[in-house]
């Protein structure tokens, strides 16, 4: 029995070692572009069980990914003759995956912050996400016309976002509850009246109102009484490993040909086909 046990241990060790191999040295003929995203952040990216609406297969999975980010990834891959591969990853591991070379690019609705720029390189913006407030129709804040009308409320937002870290502190006398781990979780808090309002970007808010009919979007954009955020904080970028200028230039050349109207058009298309719209 001892022999069997040690033999099994040896096999486990051997398997582990054999699975660790050096990266392939030969340059493949068609370059594969491995793009990471959560595949669970509609309308930017989501997963589905079939390839409807030209969804792309997710690596090592029977699922398919689609959404604004996937559409953008497809454009970049097509323009540069890359073979596209979508990798589903948790939000927290997107940047380590880039740094370790596990994936080539991250297209996941990341805003271009100074902290992230220290870790990875960002493309030019691939979407301009305006920030809005979401509240319940029967709330006293439902008729707010500016930031000052939100004063004194209870609020939360998603962890690690500009919405939570930059926008919420700008509301006067607001009680800011701990951040929620995801956008859907923060919507649950709002729906349960645990908070008076939440702050997020327009595409997320539009998705929310489709599921929760009792929610209403407060958009102060263009008024004096709005959240003050720097351009770079709300612009979403595509990130690559630091120093990967070749890929960065390839991505930027594709983005340079697209206008803000093109972005909006693509986002509308994504919103129209997202699973929660059905």
């Amino acid at each position: 029995m001892k022999k069997i046990a040690s033999l099994l241990l040896f096999v486990l060790l051997a398997l582990t070692l054999s699975a660790c191999s050096a990266p392939a040295p030969s340059e493949p003929e068609v370059k594969t572009l491995r793009v990471a995203m959560e595949c669970g952040y509609a309308p930017y990216n989501w997963s589905q069980e079939n390839d409807d609406n030209e969804a792309v297969a997710i690596a090592d999975s029977s699922n398919f990914a689609n959404g604004y980010d996937v559409m953008m990834a497809k454009r970049i891959a097509e323009a540069n003759d890359y073979e596209l591969e979508i990798v589903r990853l948790d939000w927290d591991s997107l940047i380590p995956a880039l740094q370790s070379g596990e994936v080539d690019a991250v297209i996941a609705g990341q805003s271009i912050t100074a902290e992230r720029l220290e870790q990875v390189d960002f493309s030019t913006p691939y979407y301009y996400a305006s920030i809005v407030t979401l509240t319940n129709k029967d709330s006293v804040y439902a008729n707010a016309t500016g930031l000052s009308d939100l004063a004194g409320g209870t609020a939360t937002s998603q962890l690690g976002t500009v919405w939570y870290e930059v926008c919420l502190p700008q509301i006067e006398n607001a009680t800011i509850l701990p951040a929620q781990e995801s956008a859907p979780a923060m919507l649950v808090a709002l729906n349960a009246n645990a908070v008076d309002y939440v702050v997020c970007d327009l595409p997320t808010a539009m998705a929310a109102t489709q599921v929760y009919e009792n929610m209403v979007i407060l958009d102060f954009t263009g008024t004096e009484d709005d959240f003050e955020v720097s351009e770079e904080e709300v612009n979403l970028g595509i990130s690559v490993k630091k120093g990967n200028t070749e890929l960065l230039e390839a991505i930027n050349s594709v983005l340079a040909e697209l206008t803000v109207e093109d972005f909006e058009e693509m986002m509308d298309a994504a919103i129209a086909i997202q699973p929660l719209s059905e």
Partner: protein, 263 residues
């Protein structure tokens, strides 16, 4: 309320296969991880309980001391840090530091096994210590060495005693594999997160996932309880003797038996 159930039905009809695939991955990693973890735990636990005698040659004592130090380090390191952090270190760290690219499944099996091993090592050590020292003395008295004593006397009894803990570890693994989503493993919880992010139906999906988790853990604990009972055997024994006086000793209880054909 009916809206809620509609949401459950919608989540399931759109992502039913994904849930089942996620459950399969969760179960697979937990099973493999618990199995190899137990082997590691047994190996470490047995080595850690080798008695050190001041009369032994100094070389043996030094080597034993070193190995024990190493094993204690292993146990404390993996027991004392979150599995999610270890995953990131092992999977991405190995790539950055040593240019070592590990297949994500290998990494997953490795991480869960080595974690379970660290917990099981302590459990096995406790299991071995819980066996009365009279058993060891008895084994020594009939001329068994340390390994023989372990294999034939102590470990079978220790194993029976730690089965509940193996079950605990398995159930913990079923739930804890959810952290492997950081290395791209699509387990049941990650499927839940994807579905929630795609449909924004939070509680509806959580309900489905809860039912699946519960049916997996309940089945596991039932099976292990059955294994315990099986290993315990009958709770009453008859002396294997032809001595009719045994009938009066109280060690023989008459029970009607199944008809055994006589030859």
């Amino acid at each position: 309320m009916s809206n809620f159930w509609l949401g459950v039905v919608k989540s399931w009809s759109k992502y039913g296969t994904s849930y089942m695939m996620g459950a399969r991955n969760t179960l697979l990693i937990s099973l493999v991880g618990t199995f190899f973890g137990c082997l590691i735990g047994f190996a470490v636990g047995v080595v850690q309980t080798i008695p050190s005698n001041p009369k032994d040659p100094w070389l043996k004592r030094v080597v034993l001391k070193l190995i024990n130090l190493l094993l204690t380090g292993y146990v404390e390191l993996f027991r004392g840090t979150p599995m999610i952090v270890q995953s990131v270190f092992i999977y991405y760290g190995a790539r950055i530091a040593f240019n070592l690219s590990m297949d994500m499944w290998t990494a997953a099996f490795f991480i869960v096994s080595i974690n379970t091993g660290a917990y099981m090592a302590e459990t096995v050590r406790g299991g071995i210590l819980s066996i009365d020292s009279g058993q060891t003395e008895g084994a020594k008295a009939v001329g068994m060495n340390h390994w023989q004593t372990m294999l034939h006397v102590i470990l079978p009894q220790a194993f029976r005693n730690i089965i509940p803990q193996i079950g605990n570890n398995f159930i913990i693994n079923i739930k804890d594999t959810s952290v492997l989503s950081v290395i791209s493993i699509t387990d049941l919880f990650f499927v839940h997160k994807s579905v929630v992010g795609s449909l924004y139906l939070y509680f509806e999906s959580a309900t489905i996932v809860m039912v699946i988790y519960l049916s997996m853990t309940l089945t596991a604990s039932r099976l292990l309880r059955w294994l315990e009972n099986y290993l315990d055997g009958d709770n009453s024994y008859d002396l294997a003797t032809t001595d009719t006086l045994a009938h009066t000793s109280g060690l023989y209880s008459y029970r009607p038996r199944k008809e055994v054909p006589r030859n």
